[in-house]
């Protein structure tokens, strides 16, 4: 949390009007009579230093160069110290049409009527309920909650499709792991790690690649499949 600056009540030496100022203020203008006065004039004990609380920080890596850096927990943006890339740290929600690329370190939610029309959107976490024409990149996870469609592909850490949700993807999906309780249809589904199809899940793809696969009773899979060889 960012430090909270303490305020002090000061009295204008000219008109006697009180007003609130930062405890570290050097000088100010009276909001009533406009008189300029210094803190030494009104604070008998003089100006004293305020000890600010330690700002909590978090660590994140630049999406372009991978450089690790610390930013304040509440910061909404930052700049990579290594490559100068601007990083947007907050969250964003698309409820209508959105054009242009997005690069977030936070969460991107594309609502049920949302349509991402840019060419590439990157966010640590993406929750997809609507449509996307552009490529989606979610290093942490891409969660599909509604009847979603991606015209191009997507990649990221894990792909989660909730029960009752569906995702139709026009190009290759490339994820570390997957959990499908809804329906997924795509040309190529590539999972570098484990893939689980839940009892209400369906996966239909021309090509399915995985390291490990579990299809629970009731789950459906259809396509040409290939497993990766075991790591040495």
């Amino acid at each position: 949390m960012a430090a909270v600056i303490s305020k002090v009540e000061v009295i204008c030496p000219e008109c006697g009007q009180g007003q609130s100022e930062s405890e570290n203020f050097l000088s100010t203008v009276c909001r009533s009579c406009g008189a300029y006065f210094k803190s030494a004039q009104v604070m008998a004990e003089g100006r004293r230093k305020v000890k600010r609380r330690v700002i909590q920080k978090r660590e994140l890596s630049c999406a372009d160069c991978g450089e690790l850096q610390e930013v304040a927990l509440e910061a909404q943006s930052s700049t990579c110290m290594a490559c100068g890339r601007h990083m947007e740290l907050g969250h964003r929600e698309i409820l209508g049409e959105h054009l242009g690329n997005i690069s977030l370190e936070g969460e991107l939610r594309i609502g049920p009527k949302g349509n991402y029309g840019g060419s590439r959107a990157r966010a640590a976490r993406i929750i997809l309920e609507g449509r996307s024409s552009g490529f989606l990149e979610a290093p942490e996870f891409l969660k599909v909650c509604g009847q979603a469609r991606i015209r191009s592909g997507a990649s990221g850490g894990s792909l989660e499709i909730e029960a009752g949700a569906s995702l139709e993807c026009g190009e290759r999906l490339d994820f570390g792991s997957g959990r499908i309780d809804g329906e997924l249809r795509c040309p190529v589904a590539h999972f570098a790690g484990p893939l689980t199809i839940g009892s209400r899940g369906t996966l239909v793809a021309e090509k399915i690649q995985f390291q490990e696969l579990t299809v629970e009773p009731g789950g459906r899979v259809q396509g040409w499949a290939e497993s990766f060889p075991a790591a040495p």
Partner: protein
């Protein structure tokens, strides 16, 4: 076509007879009437009415059909099960895998058509 009897158990973990344990091969299709563990090399198909387990030494050039199928060995012609298929680490399966549910462990070499949960 050969016909080989089976066991009293209905579990993979239980005692089941070993079919052709030892290093010899069978030419032709074999039919397993009950649960069985297969350790031989089979140049043909394996048609099991119930559960069948292929040990790591087993190799089947054709396909395996059965109720539940567990594979640790090599199957060239695919696996078709009315129930569950379990492909364990080290298994090699080609051509196809048809089942109602599937567990494919890391370290399995599978390449082929996959149809799970149909019908």
């Amino acid at each position: 076509m050969n016909s080989v009897g089976g066991a009293e158990t209905d579990s993979f973990d239980g005692k089941v007879p070993e079919i052709a344990s030892g290093a010899f091969a069978i030419w032709g299709d074999i039919r397993l009437a009950r649960n069985a563990v297969l350790q031989a090399k089979v140049k043909g198909n394996v048609l099991a009415e119930h559960k069948v387990i292929l040990t790591p030494e087993a190799e089947v050039s054709g396909r395996i059909q059965g109720g539940d199928v567990c594979v640790e060995g090599k199957v060239e012609g695919g696996v078709e099960a009315r129930g569950r298929v379990w492909l364990k680490k080290g298994a090699v399966v080609r051509k196809q895998c048809v089942a109602q549910s599937l567990r494919l462990e890391a370290g399995v070499d599978f390449r082929g058509e996959l149809r799970v949960g149909e019908g």
